[in-house]
């Protein structure tokens, strides 16, 4: 099974396809015995991120997922998958709990970005994201990150620091939306298609940059028939989790540190580093 060549914009459209499954459906198929745990204990429960305990391959795990919602009412309930600070604070609360009980963590990214709003700023959106990046680096249990559909900017990365990053074939992961990129760089948001190509936001691109570890093939696409993709994810997840569970905590943390520490393309004294 190989990947079908699609344009970057084609992939953007598939990633945002209205019939593409959301995190909740993925979780229904991926794990059993899911018990949702709510709230950040500080302000409220932000439903753009759902989390809880479940079993994966009969092993207890903590799952954290950005949920966009299915129909209009559901989308509003989940704020279209755009978290406020309390969403990130709930996520990290549950991750610390996972560490306490020595449960691996599985996070699912699917967000256009952190919510840009007045209240989000008042409650410290920047700090909430930064705190998660910092804390996730310290957690002594394996963390596997799955990019389901859309990974938009710091709002995605805030649950995206892990030991393995797996990305679905028709998912995108980028510094901001192609529309946003076009409006900043070309001062014209209608050039999103062009932007999508040059931004290098597909799973293939990110694998070649060594930013993600594996691509989860979808065959017909998660909007047509998700069973193939979900089956593939299960296989990959099992493989990576087994590898990580063998590592001692020190190695796990050192590898996670180096994984992110080494990302970057620059030159020093005329020598290229990548």
């Amino acid at each position: 099974m190989t990947m079908i060549n699609k344009s970057a914009w084609g992939i953007v459209k598939l990633a945002r396809h209205p019939k593409r499954i959301t995190s909740r459906t993925l979780l229904d198929h991926l794990v059993t015995d899911f018990i949702e745990l709510k709230g950040d204990r500080l302000f409220k429960d932000d439903q753009s991120i759902i989390g809880g305990i479940a079993k994966f391959n009969a092993m207890p795990v903590t799952v954290i997922a950005q949920e966009k919602g299915k129909d209009t009412t559901d989308k509003i309930k989940h704020n279209f998958g755009m978290p406020h600070p309390e969403g990130y604070r709930k996520a990290i609360r549950l991750m610390r709990q996972a560490e306490k009980f020595n449960r691996p963590i599985i996070t699912i990214i699917d967000t256009p970005g952190a919510y840009p709003g007045i209240e989000a700023e008042e409650r410290g959106q920047a700090r909430a994201i930064a705190q998660n990046l910092f804390d996730m680096m310290s957690l002594t249990v394996p963390i596997i990150v799955i990019v389901l559909s859309e990974g938009g900017s710091g709002g995605a990365l805030a649950i995206g620091v892990g030991d393995r990053i797996l990305m679905f074939e028709n998912a995108i992961y980028s510094i901001l939306s192609p529309e946003g990129f076009a409006s900043i760089l070309y001062k014209d948001s209608s050039k999103a298609e062009e932007a999508a190509t040059i931004m290098k936001l597909t799973a293939k691109d990110l694998q070649s940059f060594k930013i993600i570890d594996d691509i989860i093939l979808e065959k017909d696409g998660l909007h047509e028939d998700p069973s193939f993709g979900i089956h593939n994810l299960k296989k990959q997840l099992t493989k990576h989790l087994n590898q990580l569970l063998k590592q001692n905590k020190k190695t796990l943390l050192e590898n996670r540190y180096q994984k992110f520490r080494n990302i970057g393309v620059y030159q020093e004294e005329g020598v290229k580093h990548e």
Binding site: G117, L157, I175, L176, I263, G264, H273
Partner: protein, 294 residues
Amino acid sequence: MNDFLEHRKKRLEEFKKTVRKKEVTYKPIDIPEGLFFKCDQCGAAIYEKTLQLGHYICPFCDFHFRMNATSRVDLIVDEGSFESLYDDIRSLNPLGIQNYEEKVKIGQELSKLNEAFLCGTGKIVGIKVAIGALDSTFMMGSMGSAVGEKVSRLIEYATKHKLPLVIFSASGGARMQEGIYSLMQMAKTSAALLRHDQENLLYISVLTNPTTGGVAASFASLGDIMIAEKSSLIGFAGARVIKQTIRQDLPEGFQTDEFQLNHGQVDMIVHRSDMRKTLYQLLKLHQKDGHDND
């Protein structure tokens, strides 16, 4: 009665005349470029030298102008104590974005730095620190791979040499031209800070005008002590994006230093003239016995 009304009418006309006249006298003068700067807050024209000598603070209304990284470091550290580190780390163009190299070149000319972050070691009233400052004249202080690498190296240097760390942020956020690489610098710099933190070392983060986006949402927000410089715009999302999303006007004073203080995001607002003194006091309080004056 008529007399009175007549008199009032006359006076009103005179008043109008004088007001109009006044307006006319405010006709803008033709100022040679670069010699005078207009204050963003009160509109006063300030002679360049006056501004420079006054650390880029408006003498009329106290507004703090943006300051480049070199002037910033000069203002903070003891004279002659600064030794720069990792000067030769430069950007490449990993996505092959058009005009990116030119923008870097312009940034280099404006800032006289190879990249948007100046860092090294220096002393603040005798206390040795690892210090860094982003430069907003270099592509709005944006963080790409080179900046992310320099920030991380500075932090690692501080960790290795057990030094307190002071970083002045001035940035529009992650550098768009390097796409996902820029995004990942947020995780990279935060990771480096974790190790500094685990050694129980002090990190003072100073947010200056502006500190937003991916820089605000990573190392800039992770200080043990968070200082906002006066007259700073600080926030995660840009005002324009928020306005577009919520479709309503933003409240007065949104994302200012005062806003951040009122919402519990920073410990204090510090005037630029007091910055060195404040940093010294904080550093001094964190020194262990026998470590006075290095």
